[in-house]
Symmetry: C2
Subunit: 339 residues, 2 copies
Amino acid sequence: MKLTIQEVAEKAGVGVGTVSRVLNNHKSVRPETRERVSAAMQELGFIPNPHARRVAGGKSYTVSIILQVVGTEFYIRLLSGLEKTLETHRYDSALFPLIGRERLERYLNSSTLAYQSDGIVMASHNLGDLYPDGKLPTRQPVVIVDGNSCHYDSVYLDNELGGELAARALAALDGEKYAISVHQDLDTVFKTTVFQDRMRGFKNYFENNHTAMPEANIQTITFDLENARRATQHILDTATLPVNIFAAADLIAMAVIDETRARNLEIGRDVRVIGFDDHPWAKEHGLTTLHQPVEAMGATAAELLVERLSGYDGAPRQVRFEPRLIERRSTLQQEDSEI
Amino acid sequence: MKLTIQEVAEKAGVGVGTVSRVLNNHKSVRPETRERVSAAMQELGFIPNPHARRVAGGKSYTVSIILQVVGTEFYIRLLSGLEKTLETHRYDSALFPLIGRERLERYLNSSTLAYQSDGIVMASHNLGDLYPDGKLPTRQPVVIVDGNSCHYDSVYLDNELGGELAARALAALDGEKYAISVHQDLDTVFKTTVFQDRMRGFKNYFENNHTAMPEANIQTITFDLENARRATQHILDTATLPVNIFAAADLIAMAVIDETRARNLEIGRDVRVIGFDDHPWAKEHGLTTLHQPVEAMGATAAELLVERLSGYDGAPRQVRFEPRLIERRSTLQQEDSEI
DNA sequence: CTGAAAGCGCTTACAG
DNA sequence: CTGAAAGCGCTTACAG
């Protein structure tokens, strides 16, 4: 059952060094030899022992992904982008939930896998509130995704721009303007600034254009459907139709749509709404929203980390992704379009 | 920076073999020597390289925890129980989110950490729908927690009993009886039967006691606050007060309480509710609920796995935990008690 | 381009 | 009870 490069070498009629070289994609292997070895591995069903690779080569080919444990679509997509790309480069990944600070410390301080991995991907966290100097106490390369820090390679969406784009689209519509944003629980280690960024951009647009956007029209809620629903009710109870709402996340926009329907009002005519994320289901609901290339962001973060692990040692790189406004029925002022 | 048992051995004035022995808690080390070595490790801040241990000893001291990625209180508590106990036994753990089937296959089939770990803890899944024979395709020891399978050591709560206890408590109260249960999304790999089990016990009680519990009084919803709220509204819109509601999870019970208050009705007098879980916050809300020793279940699962990893090879063991009814204000019929 | 050999940091019989 | 030595499965200069 336990295969080693030993048997692969024999089968292929080469030395173990050569097997190791094809395993590591060394350029200095004749294509023909490489072929033969690959075939042997294939036939035998050989799987290299990552622990041995680590011991011998000083690399574990393992990356730790630290994130808040939430089952939201965003993280599932982000993870998928990360893992797919890491796999391409023959890196494996393990998840470490960011539940509390002492837990994070433990990860970083003991003989844990998290610590022994070659690098760390940190999701949705700028590290500032966690560590005064904004650095993780580790010597591993770190990349940040869905957040940014001047100390580490970072991949982030320009959320502020997203807020601006939403504001501009909303401003073009007639009727009152509202927004529903999200605030994080204060007692969590998990801190993201994405929602604040979106709202900053949103408000800025109105300010810069001397358009009215009363602070009172902005509600900030915790991230769940029920609160989103309640916030929508609050708006619809008091506002004069039509109203235009910027929901800082698609999920919230869905609550707006639901409540609108529950009141027999019409999306597009009475209530216009713009979401944020462009999750796969946004399309079928005709939701105008800001598209966020989540998988691509994950993939890019993975690439950056792999480069570091391959020896790149330049200054921290900031990769900025731009959100794109996807216009759908939920902001169409005209009477119902065909579909 | 990189310390090895070499330097520890020198510092302690012993051979590397001895250092290794104290590392592995071998009995055959003189207490005095053990002391000296421990002190040396302490001083040097030595951390053993788990990969080397794996290669040399054939064990990685690593356990894979496979679970649905959801940030619910239940899983955070379960994880805490698991990890704490594993740590005691010097095992490390990594999380592998059960997002899709192909992902699980990948974990189990490649040179991944999940595959290379010494054992697997599978949470909230009976494996039946995932694999026809109800077994994970791996040679690693597996233990199941919050679920059970005749093929593996399992640690589970008697959810059926919990349902019965809830029914009995509800039956003792005057007024109509209702229940709000939970169904899983069908398109998820994640399958748990806990809610079905709770409802089976609940219904059984009424049947066995020839008491009325119309099927129509039972609603089954997806697990979120908004649906819970809606289900409660449905009940309160139609029922005659007082009503007694069994909520299959504390979170749902909270929605019942919220909606009750929103209608200016009184918990205990107009609406009685029993939850399930006894999460820490249940107490402060005066929620009567079924206590579930989540951390203890995690700890027990960890113990069972460690025993397997230490060589135990008996038949699968089933450890059943019993829920306990905790009576609080939410089922107190009397007029308001003082606090 | 490739083989033989030393080495990674640990564990574990084997002697004593 | 403990040291010296072989070995775990791989990687990587070092020669050729």
